[in-house]
């Protein structure tokens, strides 16, 4: 397993349950995360493209996904730490996709 020394995740607010990948992350990568001085390790479960979101906590179905310290929508399925968070498992509470 590869160990990254350089920070590869950006956590914008300490309340966030997602982080932003600072580079493309491959599955199996072990990433270090420091929030309020506490260091944690998260194993990346799937490919995360640069600037995309990675869950850093377990997010239950229907719970808020938090970035910038604010809800950016809700999880449409339970999301495990290390997972890619995007349109397949996160939807807006503001604008729902139109029913086909």
């Amino acid at each position: 397993m590869r160990q990254d020394r350089q920070p590869v995740l950006l956590v914008i607010d300490p309340k966030d349950n997602v982080a932003v990948a600072l580079r493309d992350l491959a599955p199996g990568t072990e990433v270090r995360l420091s929030i309020r001085g506490r260091v944690r390790r998260i194993s990346v479960l799937e490919r995360i493209p640069v600037n995309h979101k990675l869950a850093i906590a377990r997010i239950r179905r229907g719970a808020a996904v938090v970035k910038y310290g604010e809800p950016i929508g809700e999880a449409t399925t339970t999301i495990r730490p290390g997972s890619h968070v995007h349109i397949h498992n996160l939807q807006s509470r503001r604008v729902r996709p139109r029913k086909q």
Partner: protein
């Protein structure tokens, strides 16, 4: 670099302060632009404020133009004003003149039709302009606190790095300045859409919360009436490929430049804030119109967050240009004042980047020449109006 707790600024008769000391040569209508430009030509310290409004507009728009002209003329960065009028414009020049005079700003009028044409108007204007510039030069900077500062915030030519690095860093600067008693104005109603329910929670009173809902709803309705939709199709396909999933996320990236302070009020375009702290302004995102509204509301310094690199400044106020995009910071080096690309390159702390932006704001306020000023990329101004030209 640690931000200073004081700045060196010009004290004005109305109690405000300025960080620049210009003579504003201000046409009251677009038809007077040529004369205003010639009056200011070659006179160091004189700034022609050319625009495209002032006549052939609905009364509500003319009132907004008057408010903007008065606001620009009485901005702390202006030491004296020359109003250049054609003579028959829709703007009520007497009213504009009286408002500027009442605030204690030296003001002089040049009326092209009364003076018998452009040659005499230019000559008369230049005589007045030289005398005003000389009088302004006698004013010296004094030490004042950051509580006297009004900073306007804007972002433009945004990309993924804006919402992740430069906007949050600017937000930290906003919080730090508000904590020191300063005033910050954030415009661009379009950007609040999608995050307005979150902004509403930060309103100081229910009335301010209602005003935030009112301006965002009105913006969306104006777009719908014109056949557009501000929320439909958001975030865009390009945003989604870039990693943005929801409209809340996109808007939060944009409004993160407003920090986390309590929202004290919602201002009309070009309206002066009544107190200190954080204010929202109901205005457009279009750069020249947005910056004009902020400066007319009293902002002496503008902070501009950019991703791809927007080079423009403003005729009356220094612009502190901030970018978190390493390519832009390299490629458009001559236009970026604060490089915060370390946030994304090394995941380094956003608060530290915010402190560096505040330090740059203090330096600009105390007279340091910003990149847009040095490049002379700071001539454009435009007044926002809503109705048709008639």
């Amino acid at each position: 670099m640690k931000p200073s707790e004081t700045i060196r600024a010009y004290l004005r008769a109305d109690g405000g302060v300025g960080v620049r000391n210009y003579v504003a040569v201000m046409p009251t209508v677009a038809c007077a632009n040529d004369v205003a430009e010639r009056i200011a030509e070659g006179i160091q310290g004189a700034r022609p404020l050319l625009h495209h409004q002032g006549c052939g507009q609905l009364q509500s728009d003319l009132i907004q133009v008057e408010r903007t002209l008065i606001g620009l003329a009485t901005n702390g960065n202006v030491g004296a004003v020359i109003l250049v009028s054609l003579g028959c414009e829709g703007v009520n020049v007497d009213r504009v003149y009286a408002a500027i005079e009442q605030i204690g700003r030296p003001v002089s009028r040049v009326n092209i039709q009364d003076l018998g044409g452009s040659r005499r108007a230019i000559w008369r204007g230049r005589v007045a302009c030289r005398a005003m510039v000389a009088a302004c030069r006698r004013v010296r900077r004094t030490t004042v606190g950051l509580d006297r500062l009004i900073v306007g915030i804007k972002c433009g030519a945004s990309d993924m790095t804006s919402g992740l690095a430069s906007n949050p860093a600017v937000g930290k600067m906003v919080d730090a300045l508000v904590a020191r008693g300063g005033t910050v104005i954030v415009g661009e109603t379009t950007e609040f859409l999608g995050a307005e329910h979150l902004l509403v929670r930060r309103a100081t009173t229910p009335g301010v919360a209602r005003a935030i809902r009112r301006i965002t709803k009105a913006m969306q309705q104006r777009a719908l009436a014109a056949g557009g939709d501000m929320l439909g199709g958001q975030p865009s396909q390009g945003n989604i490929e870039g990693g943005i999933t929801t409209i809340e996320e996109k808007s939060l990236g944009a409004v993160s430049k407003a920090g986390t302070a309590t929202i004290q009020g919602v201002l009309e375009y070009a309206e002066r804030p009544a107190g200190s702290g954080l204010y929202l302004m109901d205005g457009p995102g279009f750069e020249p119109q947005a910056l004009t509204g902020l400066v007319a509301a009293g902002a002496q310094v503008l902070v501009f967050s950019t991703g791809r690199g927007a080079p423009q400044g403003f005729p009356l106020a220094p612009v502190v240009k901030v970018s978190g995009n390493p390519t832009t910071c390299r490629h458009l080096r001559a236009h970026i004042d604060v490089d915060v690309s370390e946030v994304l390159a090394r995941g380094s702390a956003v608060p530290a980047a915010g402190q560096r932006i505040l330090a740059a704001v203090c330096a600009a306020a105390s007279g340091k020449v910003m990149r847009a000023e040095r490049a002379g990329y700071d001539r454009t101004l435009d007044i926002y109006t809503r109705g048709p030209f008639v």
